[in-house]
């Protein structure tokens, strides 16, 4: 068991990576074996993430130097700084890892029936595994260059899966996604070059120790903040989201949301860990709050007139990202002040808790949209109606997802939103009022979807979706209800350690030695 825990950081990246390369081979042998192999790998990754999470929450951060005989030796004997690929996983990193692994597992199970045979399903699983590699890599790496590498893996694999349906609009969505992702990746690469040129370092902890916040560092900061804020779908750089989310297969849209959150994590990691108190936290915190407010408001108001169910949900994904930016931005705004300990940490808890909640209910909502598309072959809400007569389970899953995203108790969305409302109120009541208004509008737009798709007389003679799709939705529904019923348990044991890992820069820096 000790061996497994020690090597699990590397295994979590290597296992899906190697499986991705094996997948086409297994696909040639047998379709059943391929499906079984994909599900087993995602289950193993989920188990490994949980094992690692339990150990990190109990014993603290894990550090792993890839290629070193002793993986705990991050600095080689002939060097004075870490020069290998170092993975550094704290409570925040593993928190994000749990989200990524769970969403990908649900997407994999859901895709068993959702994705048709004969359209390169083997390639589909290969790319899904690569998406998982990209996300886990971004969340686990302690090296800024590898952050860029995993960001690219995530972007390219995601773009390839957005275009999976091979229709004109899918190609357009994927093209936009790829162009904008490539530009942001170049921004990150340019920042990496600036850091390397200035400090001869790539390790995040060592960079953070040495960073002086010079003009060069300010340029790098501007590039990193805008690149990651764009990729997480922050307004006004969110335009690619509705175009890409609406055309991707629904299981992939759910993983795209998790991918966006990996970028959100990278944004927070850059602000809190790489720069920390050396930068003007009030300014960057203020920028994050403005991004948050704009995303919340524009996202939800643009969702209301949509007729395409997935496009509507895509705008909601933007809106919900706003809550996370608001919560964590408020925390960053107060960093270094006495108020940070009083309500800054609480605001961050709300924002971070909302990340996992959003991944679950938004993932579920996209899967229900996929279930509707699977039966009706349309995303147009005007062509739907009366689905609750025959698709009973999907209707229930949709209601749970919709109530959770609207922040209705006792579902998980309410728990995190309540923390955000109450804590940001201390900074400015206006922030809370806008957040509550956005929740009301969210509920309104989901009432529209529920009414037009599920209510009314029976128009379509359709059956319920296959069991594997119901199981995929069921996994996320269970998490939503569990998190909603026991929020304090999740906040105390999972969210608070993640917040403290992010907020206390010294812990991250000291773990790597030197």
């Amino acid at each position: 068991m000790n061996w497994l825990i020690t090597h699990s950081p590397a295994l979590l990246i290597l296992l899906p990576l190697l499986s991705a390369f094996l997948m086409p081979l297994i696909d040639k042998i047998s379709k059943k074996a391929r499906n079984f192999f994909a599900v087993i790998i995602f289950i193993i990754v989920e188990i490994l993430v949980i094992i690692l999470a339990l150990d990190i929450l109990k014993n603290g951060m894990h550090v792993y130097a890839i290629g070193e005989r002793n993986p705990l030796q991050t600095i080689p004997t002939q060097a004075v700084v870490p020069i290998r690929i170092v993975l550094q996983i704290d409570a925040m990193g593993i928190f994000m890892g749990i989200i990524s692994a769970t969403v990908c597992l649900s997407a994999c199970i859901y895709s068993l029936a959702y994705i048709e045979e004969g359209r390169g399903k083997g390639k589909f699983y290969t790319l899904l595994l690569l998406i998982l590699v990209g996300m886990l890599g971004m969340e686990f790496t302690g090296d800024i260059f590898n952050l860029f590498v995993f960001y690219e893996i995530l972007s390219i694999a995601s773009a390839a899966l957005i275009v999976y349906s091979r229709k004109g609009e899918a190609s357009e969505g994927a093209f936009k996604f790829l162009v904008i992702s490539s530009i942001s990746a170049l921004f990150i690469l340019f920042s990496v070059a600036l850091f390397y040129g200035e400090y001869d370092l790539l390790n995040i902890a060592y960079l953070a120790k040495n960073i002086k916040y010079t003009h060069i560092d300010k340029i790098a900061l501007a590039l990193l903040v805008s690149a990651f804020a764009m990729k997480c779908g922050s307004v006004p750089m969110h335009f690619w989201c509705p175009d890409a989310y609406s055309v991707a297969p629904s299981s992939i849209t759910a993983t795209l949301v998790a991918g966006s959150q990996a970028s959100l994590y990278a944004l927070f990691r850059v602000c809190f860990t790489l720069y920390g108190l050396k930068l003007d936290s009030q300014l960057i915190g203020g920028i994050l709050i403005i991004f948050g407010l704009l995303s919340m408001f524009v996202g939800v108001t643009m969702a209301i007139p949509q007729k395409d169910i997935k496009r509507l949900m895509a705008y909601h994904a933007i809106s919900q990202t706003g809550y996370m930016l608001l919560g964590v931005g408020a925390g960053f705004y107060l960093l270094g002040k006495p108020e940070f300990e009083i309500y800054g940490i609480k605001a961050m808890e709300g924002g971070i808790f909302h990340i996992i909640n959003h991944a679950m209910y938004k993932g579920l909502l996209f899967l229900t949209a996929g279930a509707i598309f699977y039966r009706l072959k349309t995303r147009n809400l005007n062509e739907m109606g009366g689905l609750a007569h025959t698709m009973k389970y999907t209707s229930v899953f949709f209601i749970i997802g919709a109530l959770a995203i609207a922040g209705i108790p006792p579902f998980n969305g309410f728990a995190s939103k309540l923390i955000i409302y109450e804590s940001v109120y201390k900074i400015s009541p206006i922030l809370s009022i806008i957040a509550m208004l956005v929740s009301i509008l969210t509920l309104a737009s989901f009432v529209k979807v529920f009414y037009s798709a599920f209510m009314g007389p029976k128009i379509h003679d359709v059956r319920e979706v296959p069991k594997s799709m119901l199981i995929g939705m069921g996994v996320l529904t269970f998490v939503i209800i569990f998190f909603g019923l026991f929020p304090q348990y999740i906040v105390n044991n999972l969210v608070n350690p993640a917040v403290m890992a992010l907020a206390k820069q010294a812990g991250y820096l000291s773990a790597i030695g030197g």
Binding site: T301, M302, I304, P410, G456
Partner: protein, 108 residues
Amino acid sequence: MYEIVWEPIIWIISFVIITITVYIIRAIGRVDYRGGEEEKPFLSGMEAPKEKMHISASNVYWGFIDALKGYYNSMKKIHSGVINDYVSWFMLITAIIFISLFLYGVIK
């Protein structure tokens, strides 16, 4: 540290109690007030086909969207669907962050 108290279990118990109360009140109502003419939708005395009774998504919240026509028109212009515009916004925001970082440093 600032504490936020939220007990979902108590909320659920309250919800169940309220539901039971509503059900009891409903149950003591008139039993014969079901299944008659009064249940049919009012369409000026016309018999409407069941399929036509469903209101489609475009008609929901039309008043809200119409009232905010100005806002939505400007939003539609911004959401042009053209990749060049997306990249322009991205560059513009990067430039704004960049300038704010420098100006804030100078002012401070």
